[in-house]
């Protein structure tokens, strides 16, 4: 313990307080720049590539454990699984045959009525590399990144519904924000009657909220909510959530509607990235709209004069 001497014979550099202030200011500066601007994304990517091998290393014990567990799965279990899957496949095949007929019919009707054709969205498979380690956020990482042409903004889903949205891409990884992330909004439509609304994440993994719906809105428990596709980000008709509880209190202007997400993030490893955003016609420029109040203000000023 020779370091505990109080005499300062040697120059140890700036005092701890000076260092504290310097690094705190540096951190706050970085925080400000990162929160407000996009300048640091390239730096983040370089650092992410540097630590990528170590991150994969930490995921290794879990993967090995999963591998061992599946290796020792009994044959009986596999046979039962197989039989069940074959049964389901037969049922699905019958439905699929019907679907093809209906699709053809729909396409024909749409050409007759001169409505724009529906677009098919190419999907690609990605695996969850690891889930987020920060309890504040509902995010996870999948093992396809910008090297596999994944773009920020693309939708991620599993076989039952929308899981989330790609919010940041690295060369071999993408960060996916879940639909249950606090205040993450998804524009939806009630499957039963086409009522449009926006569903928000609650920060809780098994809960979402349908806000700002009037008390009289036609929503019942068990309604399935699908994406409406009018925002140009989410492809239409992907299931998102199911209404689980409705509280209608006349004291409040809006009813309190709780929904449960349909996709199970904690259940699978494989996810689908829906690539190809719907190519809607260009949105009219917003310059005119913002200029409008200016002119109105001027007019008011002039009238006051």
């Amino acid at each position: 313990m020779d370091d505990t001497r109080t005499l300062r014979f040697f120059n140890r550099g700036p005092s701890p307080v000076a260092r504290l202030i310097f690094f705190c200011v540096l951190s706050l500066l970085l925080l400000f720049v990162d929160a407000r601007y996009q300048y640091l994304e390239s730096t983040r990517k370089v650092l992410a590539v540097m630590i990528y091998p170590f991150q994969r290393l930490t995921a290794l014990p879990g993967e090995t454990w999963g591998g061992i567990a599946s290796y020792f799965e009994t044959q009986r279990h596999l046979l039962a699984d197989n039989a069940q899957l074959r049964q389901r496949h037969d049922a699905d095949a019958a439905l699929l045959a019907q679907l093809q007929v209906i699709q053809a019919e729909n396409a024909q009707l749409r050409t007759l009525m001169e409505i724009k054709q529906r677009v098919d969205y190419p999907v690609r498979l990605a695996e969850i590399a690891y889930v987020e380690r920060d309890i504040f956020k509902r995010k996870l990482f999948v093992d396809k990144g910008s090297q596999a042409n994944v773009l920020a903004g693309q939708v991620v889903m599993d076989d039952t519904g929308v899981v989330g949205q790609v919010t940041r891409t690295y060369p071999w990884l993408s960060e996916v924000t879940l639909v249950t992330d606090k205040d993450h909004a998804v524009p939806i439509q009630v499957l039963r009657n086409g009522l449009r609304a926006v569903v928000f994440g609650s920060g809780n993994i098994s809960e979402m909220a349908l806000r700002y719906m009037p008390v009289s809105a036609d929503i019942v428990e068990g309604d399935v909510l699908v994406t409406s596709g009018i925002d140009g980000t989410y492809p239409p008709n992907l299931p998102v959530a199911k209404v689980s509880k409705i509280e209608r209190d006349p004291a409040y202007p809006f009813s309190r509607i709780t929904c449960a997400p349909l996709a199970g993030v904690d259940r699978h490893r494989a996810l689908l990235i829906v690539s190809g955003l719907p190519n809607l016609p260009e949105r009219p420029a917003t310059v005119d709209i913002s200029a409008e109040p200016e002119r109105a203000k001027k007019r008011i000023k002039r009238s006051k004069q």
Partner: protein, 172 residues
């Protein structure tokens, strides 16, 4: 109490740079393990603990600068804002350096009680940034600080044991 002090000042090998680096590296790896659900809420911050250990025991080797750099890497790995972990670890390292003589006077149980407020301060810095940016705080996050403080004693014992000179089995 007085009798405890000489026991603490046992002869330890000098902390070499590879050893410090390795301990920090192992701590970072432990933090990056796929923790989920309640395990994630109760997860101790191993990096904070190891940083605090070195800041209290070797304040001239590991300081605020190293804590800040480790924090930047943690920020990239966690996809948090640049500087969020860095700020928390900076505050933590400062606490460790300022109080290092005081902490070393006590035994391990009392040291844990000193470490807890420092950890809470670091956690609070992280949560405050999050609150400023996103507008809410998950209070169960602070449970991690308590678990970390409980782990202070085992971790100190482990690192001290690794720094103790190996006794030669052939001596005398």
């Amino acid at each position: 109490m007085r009798a405890d002090i000489p026991k603490d000042q046992e002869f330890l090998l000098p902390a070499t740079l590879p050893f410090i680096t390795l301990s920090l590296f192992v701590a970072v790896m432990l933090n990056w393990l796929p923790w989920q659900g309640w395990a994630l809420v109760l997860r101790p911050d191993f990096v904070a603990l190891v940083l605090l250990y070195w800041c209290t025991h070797k304040p001239h080797r590991v300081g605020i600068g190293i804590a800040w750099m480790v924090g930047i890497f943690a920020d990239v790995a966690d996809a948090s804002l640049f500087g969020q972990h860095a700020l928390a670890y900076t505050v933590l390292a400062f606490g460790g350096i300022v109080l290092h003589r005081r902490v070393q006077m006590f035994d391990l149980r009392q040291q844990s009680l000193h470490v807890l407020p420092m950890l809470l301060l670091g956690y609070a810095a992280y949560a405050a940034v999050h609150w400023q940016v996103r507008g809410y705080v998950a209070w169960e996050y602070f449970l991690g600080a308590a678990v970390s403080a409980l782990l202070w004693a085992p971790m100190t014992l482990l690192l001290q044991a690794l720094r103790r000179p190996r006794s030669d089995p052939n001596e005398l």
